[in-house]
């Protein structure tokens, strides 16, 4: 896919306004996809540290048996909030930020389709999270029923309850609007010549993710609305005494929840599919296959939700169906892993920070995939369910999975955004520290789960002490290593060797984003490029 253009990337001075506004008003009122992308990414990094601090409270308490630091109720609040902040405040906004920055550049569009809605989508988030974090200070404390909010337990939440529900609604609205923007942009604003099957894989994965978001975020909204009415307006959706069913909540929640985890990984697949070909100096192996595999994963993600609830008392037929469907998802996922490996095979590899993180993703996400396969087997799941084995699984796919892919993407595109090459040595140090500590942190949790340690407990029996100790050390190591990431980004925004259009000179990356200067001008592709 090559682009023939003249001055296509540079702003056409006849149409240019005076450039961005100055100061705070610029950031409050911007409708520019680059600015909004930056806002999402900075917000996400901040939330990553907030959620990370909560994780450190958890791991500090779990460092030794016995209760040393926090009340058990507060521990549960930390576990609940850690998940909510990481999922809705860190991972999802990071992917939206990358989408905002890169999709218009990759398809040769001047901006997103609905720039004002784009601004609104972002600014909802700081409000939503202020509300959510404020729950820590109200009577009854923050929500402590898990991010999964199962009734009846969640209905024992104090004053924080309506704040939680409202915050979730706001985050959901933001995501839905963002997804609408992504779909309309991709469907309506691609440069001439860029057919769907010529789009970069990052754009494909985001297109599919956006459809998932539109399908399932409303379902979450419905579920929490029903929680709200059960609590305040005498409905009995989930109250057995009134004729309802607490398990129905779980079905509705996980109908959202399973596609949600694919929402958190498909863009990661897209990022890795951009990076590996560049640094292997070889086209992505099996492009068409990768697109179909992504679509298959998205489709299958709708019919596996009950694997999160195998112990709930499901009929045999249901258990069998969900087991088989869940196992089936391993197939297209495996296809993707094989295609990435085949891209590396007979390539000419170099190991810049984006590639290091992408390769780490490949290894460690695959380990998460194996534990996922084990979890799919229902009789075995009866032993794994609600133990640290599950915690290990999802952290492997989310941390060295989604988060490392996000970091890979940031390290890949950061020079395009700031115009500077960042400190490569520091970035590699960040990489090694992160990779080593993430394994010290999460690998022992497999053993803990197998040995019988349940989830969401602040204190444990002494036979679990050794691996908990190691996991906590890993947590602090991993957590503090991330300060390097923030520093590297901050430093590169202000100084550094000037980056060229193509940035990664030896690798000759393909894609329209590498045809514009670094930093990318405020307005790009006011004139659509011609794509061959």
């Amino acid at each position: 896919m090559s682009a023939a253009h003249t001055h296509a990337g540079v702003a056409d001075h006849h149409h240019e306004e005076h450039g961005p506004a100055r100061g705070v008003m610029r950031w409050l009122t911007t409708t520019n996809h680059k600015d909004i992308g930056t806002l999402y990414l900075v917000f996400s990094l901040l939330m990553f540290f907030v959620g990370g601090a909560m994780a450190l409270v958890i791991r500090a308490e779990l460092f030794q048996p016995g209760l040393q630091l926090v009340d058990p109720g507060f521990f549960n609040t930390m576990a609940t909030m850690h998940a909510l902040v990481m999922i809705f405040g860190a991972v999802m906004p990071a992917f939206v930020g990358l989408a905002n920055w890169m999709i218009p550049l990759m398809i040769g569009a001047p901006d997103m389709a609905l720039p004002r809605m784009n601004n609104f989508s972002f600014w909802i988030l700081p409000f939503a999270f202020t509300l959510l974090l404020a729950t820590l200070f109200v009577p009854g404390g923050g929500p402590a029923g898990g991010w999964t909010m199962y009734p009846p337990l969640v209905l024992q939440t104090g004053d924080a309850f309506p704040m939680l529900i409202f915050a979730v609604h706001m985050m959901g609205a933001s995501s839905i609007m963002g997804a609408i923007n992504v779909i309309v942009t991709i469907m309506n604003m691609r440069a001439p010549g860029m057919t769907l099957l010529k789009m970069p894989l990052f754009v494909w994965t985001w297109l599919i993710t956006a459809y998932l978001l539109i399908a399932v975020m409303p379902v979450l909204a419905g579920a929490v609305t029903m929680l709200l009415t059960d609590h305040y307006f005498d409905t009995s959706f989930f109250n057995a005494a009134g004729g309802g069913d607490p398990v129905m909540f779980q079905h509705i929640f996980w109908f959202f929840g399973h596609p949600e985890v694919y929402i958190m990984i498909l863009p990661a697949f897209g990022i890795v599919s951009e990076i590996i070909p560049t640094f292997a100096r070889k086209p992505l192996f099996g492009y068409d296959s990768m697109v179909y595999a992504t679509a298959s994963i998205a489709f299958l993600s709708f019919i596996v939700w009950a694997h999160h609830m195998f112990t709930v008392g499901m009929p045999l037929a249901g258990q069998l169906f969900f087991m088989l469907a869940t196992m089936l998802i391993a197939v297209p996922t495996g296809v993707k892993v094989f295609n990435w490996t085949a891209t590396m095979w007979k390539g000419s590899l170099t190991f810049e920070p984006p590639m290091l993180f992408a390769l780490s993703f490949l290894f460690l996400f695959t380990i998460g995939g194996f534990s996922g396969l084990m979890l799919a087997i229902v009789p075995a799941d009866f032993q794994y369910h609600d133990t640290y084995f599950v915690v290990a699984h999802f952290h492997y796919v989310l941390v060295p999975g989604a988060v490392f892919a996000i970091m890979a993407g940031v390290y890949y595109w950061l020079p395009k955004w700031t115009g500077h090459l960042y400190d490569m040595k520091l970035a590699k140090a960040h990489f090694w520290l992160s990779t080593i500590f993430v394994n010290v942190l999460f690998f022992p949790q497999h053993f803990l789960g197998l040995a019988g340690m349940p989830r969401r407990i602040p204190d444990y029996s002494t036979q679990f002490a050794d691996w908990n100790l190691i996991s906590s050390i890993g947590a602090f190591g991993f957590g503090f290593s991330q300060l390097l990431f923030a520093y590297i980004i901050w430093k590169s925004a202000r100084s550094g060797v000037k980056a060229t259009d193509a940035v990664w000179l030896g690798a000759k990356p393909r894609g329209l984003e590498w045809t514009v200067p670094s930093p990318a001008p405020y307005h790009t592709f006011d004139v659509a490029p011609e794509v061959k």
């Binding site: 389709a113 839905i176 609408i180 779909i183 604003m189 539109i214 399908a215 419905g222 659509a528």
Partner: protein, 41 residues
């Protein structure tokens, strides 16, 4: 290959139409699942 204001207006109209369609889809899912909950309780 500059675009006229007409072209841009056209595109904006198309964009908004697609967006409204998707928003309607989202709302339909929201109400649909609440209806599902009501039927089952």
């Amino acid at each position: 290959m500059t675009q006229s204001q007409d072209d841009r207006d056209d595109r904006t109209r198309r964009n908004r139409r697609t967006a409204l369609l998707l928003a309607a889809l989202a709302i339909a899912f929201y109400l649909g699942f609440i209806a599902l909950g009501a039927i089952n309780s």
